[in-house]
């Protein structure tokens, strides 16, 4: 009896792993690295012109070679005849990875409590498996700045590449301390404050910002002098913006705020980048004169004032560029960062021009972030962040065929695509039989 039972159990156990395997259908396609030769494409390098019948060799995560007649050797060859190769697109301002479902508070991790929290690290809370990351990267947006928001100094933004299983694997080599510049204007129709109160509030907010900055300055001075300082993580982080060790990303939109931000920046050692800059076109010359680079957007956005031209937001980037401002673009999105190329197209059509619009989502953000040696164009030696498409990726009709991030070939799939595959021809359809 015992023997029979033992034998039975043993045979059951032996069957278990087999049974578990047998219940899984299909294959999961993972991102994979290796040596790839993207053959015979039209390569839009962005910085070195457009090269026809050109191949790109990808090796060790980098663009090893761009040219004609590259021998494949042991590389996997991907025929790109009739296709175009672009550098991976860079979104200069998102909340990608910091939120899953925006109305569900438990999944929203971009806004911490407190007014001065520069030590909050966006990179820490990036969820590498956020559904929106898979949805975004097949569009050819390979790299984004992900930005915390909330108080005056809400945290530290981080650049991430949209491939990897840990935040460190995704980290793109750029961080900036965020400042939401105090707003002096009337914030929309529901702002019922009197003109006087608005003025008082903005003066108070600016004074507060100055006090905090002075504290950080003192902190830095003491620290540099070798003083033993109390644990003060907020000041420790903010002092890095004071010294210029980390850039200061100032989010500012209304014209008068941009002007006071320009004034505020004067005489400080901080490396400043403006973000948002919705009314930049009103004070474009002043921004240009101050030499502050700008990450503007969203482009597909309403004008800020009822009296503005309908295309104020579309034309903003072009007007600033014309005035001599270095312009990059952002979507300020979480789930629809994939629309970055379309924001760029609108900016192009309303004054920025196609070439500058492409630069505004490739080489310009790379330059502004100080990482142009690695990002923003198709050149040998740079990171292999590449988009292969049937045409201009800023055109809705173009199809993105392949995406490479850090030399990894990205599977062209995500939940949106899988749902399409399942439901295009549902089975059963209307009737069961």
């Amino acid at each position: 009896m015992n023997r029979i039972l033992k034998t039975f159990c043993a045979s059951l156990l032996a069957l278990l792993p087999l049974a578990a395997m047998a219940q899984i259908d299909g294959e999961f396609v993972k991102p994979r690295t290796g040596k790839f030769l993207l053959q015979n494409a039209t390569v839009v390098t962005v910085t070195k012109g457009t090269l026809s019948n050109t191949s790109v060799l990808v090796e060790n995560g980098k663009i090893a070679q761009v040219g004609t007649g590259i021998s494949a050797g042991d590389a996997e060859v991907i025929d790109c005849s009739g296709l175009y190769i672009y550098p991976g697109m860079i979104d200069g301002g998102t909340r990608l990875g910091l939120v899953e479902v925006s109305s569900v508070a438990e999944t929203v991790d971009y806004a911490e409590i407190g007014n001065v929290t520069p030590n909050m690290q966006a990179l820490t809370t990036v969820n590498p498996n956020a559904e929106a990351i898979g949805v975004t990267r097949v569009s050819g947006v390979t790299t984004v700045l992900t930005v915390p928001t909330g108080g005056l100094f809400p945290g530290t933004a981080a650049l991430i590449n949209l491939n990897g299983y840990t935040p460190d694997q995704m980290y793109g080599g750029f961080k900036a301390i965020v400042m939401n510049f105090p707003s002096s204007g009337r914030r929309g129709r529901f702002d019922r404050r009197s003109d006087e109160d608005i003025k008082k509030d903005s003066e108070k907010a600016l004074k507060e910002a100055n006090d905090i900055w002075d504290n950080a300055k003192n902190y830095l001075k003491l620290k540099n002098a070798g003083a033993e300082l109390q644990y003060y993580p907020e000041m420790d982080q903010l002092s890095k913006a004071v010294s210029g060790e980390l850039p200061l990303l100032i989010v500012v939109d209304a014209a008068s705020d941009i002007q006071s931000a320009i004034k505020w920046v004067e005489g400080k050692d901080a490396k400043v980048i403006f973000s948002g800059v919705a009314e930049g076109w009103r004070v474009a010359d002043e921004i240009a004169k101050a030499g502050i680079p700008v990450i503007t957007g969203p482009v597909q956005e309403l004008p800020t004032r009822q009296s503005d031209r309908y295309d104020a937001a579309y034309a903003n980037a072009g007007k600033m560029a014309k005035a001599g401002v270095k312009v990059a673009l952002r979507t300020d999105e979480e789930e629809n960062v994939r629309n970055l190329p379309f924001h760029a197209a609108f900016a192009a059509a309303y004054g920025l021009g196609k070439e500058e619009a492409l630069k505004a989502i490739t080489i310009h953000p790379a330059e502004i972030f100080g990482i142009a040696d690695q990002y923003g164009s198709v050149e040998a030696g740079k990171r292999a962040n590449l988009v292969i498409s049937t045409g201009d990726p800023l055109e809705t009709k173009s199809q993105i065929m392949h995406v490479f991030i850090d030399g990894y070939r990205i599977p062209m799939s995500n939940r949106h695509i899988r749902l399409y595959q399942e439901f295009l021809e549902r089975s059963p359809g209307l009737k069961v039989n």
């Binding site: 899953e100 109305s103 009337r186 597909q300 009822q306 800023l394 009709k397």
Partner: protein, 463 residues
């Protein structure tokens, strides 16, 4: 005396035609355009003649009758005016959130002809929008179909008087949040939503029967029946049962869509359009078989739980399953580039140019019951037209001129800095609207119902 009668009759006639006669009708010849008719193919180097606000002729080498303005559209594209089947532009109030059924309220009483959003929509080629009640109630108010006759100060001129009645329904998170979680009354769940619908329609059937009984007995000898008490709410539901009103139902999840299809079947309702319909792709065969289709976002998802399992391929899947599909905005921003939103069906699902364009013209026209009047460039239809620089489905396209009834309401060449019709005299400092504060109005005006448990997170996405 006879003469007086004649004058009185003439005056009476004028009175009846008042709202029709008020709106201007244009005469116009558009020359040498690439005409995207949507229903009859694309015509190169073609002219369109407009007379009295209607399309009189489409062909080559047409000449303008004397005194009729000619617009040279060489190298440009001409398409039908874009129709947005889901908008809240030009509405002063969006939600009457006080009860799960508010069928008696009417958006036509809320139309604000001064709203700059109308002009901005025209600048995006949109000539007609479906100004909808919000989504706070299972049965919301009656919507208004607007023609963007910018510049009039009479709301009646902005309303498309010859469009049929439509009404807003809403399923899922919004009505359950406002009433169940906000007010602690049914519905708190999607089960409750179904119950509200069935209770409402059954009550309306009884109400209808009461009137039928009364009307049948009215002429009879010895009849002592008093008339039932008039109830606008139940009368409107009865009108839905009689097929006099098209339902436009805010919906997201497949289960709730399927539920309403079943309720509609049980009550013999066939005039039903789903709005948003993010999970419509899961029940596409059912939507195709039993309804007038679905009006969807091109790519919105993940802003709340019930749209988390969405796909940007929704419109393409619906289209391939035979659903009449339109792309809408529900946004004062998106309404300005619906041509671009429609083009996303080419990125996500590879639809043809005609299929994509139909989603913002003839398909929404069908869903609003106005396809015999607008939605394509055909002789006899109302001359709502847009001239584009670049193909409208290109992301570089720029609308140049927009006409309603043959009258030009937008011209990029004469667009000036301040297009407002009305400027507030008390407004010293013009407010700066950042990140579309005016946008996303589906739940506008219901914040107080859920401040207690939603905090600030409702400020962002409230569709």
């Amino acid at each position: 005396m006879k003469k007086l009668n004649f004058i009185l009759a003439a005056l009476l006639g004028m009175g009846l035609n008042y709202s029709q006669a008020q709106t201007p009708k244009g005469n116009l010849l558009i020359k040498n355009a690439t005409v995207l008719t949507v229903t009859k193919g694309n015509l190169e180097n073609t002219d369109v003649l407009v007379q009295d606000g209607l399309i009189k002729q489409v062909g080559k080498n047409l000449s303008a009758p004397s005194g009729v303005e000619t617009v040279d559209a060489s190298g440009k594209y001409l398409m039908p005016g874009i129709i947005d089947a889901h908008s809240h532009v030009a509405l002063d109030v969006v939600n009457e959130a006080s009860a799960p059924i508010v069928a008696e309220v009417r958006m036509k009483d809320m139309v604000n002809p001064y709203e700059i959003g109308l002009y901005r929509a025209l600048a995006g080629g949109v000539t007609i929008s479906h100004a909808m009640h919000g989504s706070a109630n299972v049965v919301g108010g009656q919507n208004a179909t607007l023609k963007h006759r910018w510049g009039s100060d009479d709301p009646a001129d902005i309303i498309m008087q010859d469009a049929p009645r439509t009404i807003k329904f809403a399923l899922g998170e919004n009505p359950t949040r406002v009433h169940g979680r906000g007010n602690n009354i049914q519905p708190r769940t999607r089960m409750g939503v179904e119950a509200i619908l069935r209770n409402g329609f059954n009550e309306a059937l009884q109400y209808k029967k009461g009137w039928e009984t009364y009307n049948a007995a009215k002429g009879q000898k010895g009849n002592t029946l008093a008339p039932p008490v008039f109830n606008d709410r139940l009368q409107t539901l009865a009108d839905i049962l009689d097929g006099k009103i098209i339902i436009h139902c805010h919906s997201y999840r497949a289960d709730e869509i399927y539920m309403l299809i079943n309720v509609a079947k049980d009550f013999g309702i066939t005039k039903l359009v789903f709005q948003h319909t993010n999970e419509g792709f899961k029940v596409a065969p059912e939507i195709a078989e039993y309804t007038m289709g679905a009006s969807v976002f091109a790519d919105w998802w993940a802003y709340k739980m019930e749209v988390y399992y969405s796909t940007a391929f929704n419109a393409a899947i619906l289209q391939r399953n035979g659903v009449i599909t339109s792309i809408n905005s529900d946004s004062a921003e998106l309404i300005r580039h619906l041509y671009h939103e429609a083009a996303k069906t080419q990125r996500y699902g590879g639809l043809s140019d005609d299929e994509a364009l139909a989603m913002i013209t003839i398909n929404p026209a069908k869903q609003l019951g106005i396809a015999d009047k607008v939605g394509s460039i055909e002789v006899g239809k109302q001359a709502d037209l847009v001239i584009f620089e670049g193909h409208p489905l290109s992301s570089y396209a720029v609308p140049q001129m927009t006409f309603v009834d043959g009258v030009k309401y937008f011209d990029i060449k004469s667009d000036s800095d301040d297009q407002r019709q009305l400027v507030s005299a008390t407004e010293m400092v013009e407010p700066v609207y950042l990140h579309a504060e005016e946008d996303h109005q589906c739940l506008q005006g219901v914040e107080e119902y859920f401040h207690a448990f939603m905090g600030t997170f409702m400020q962002d996405h409230t569709h």
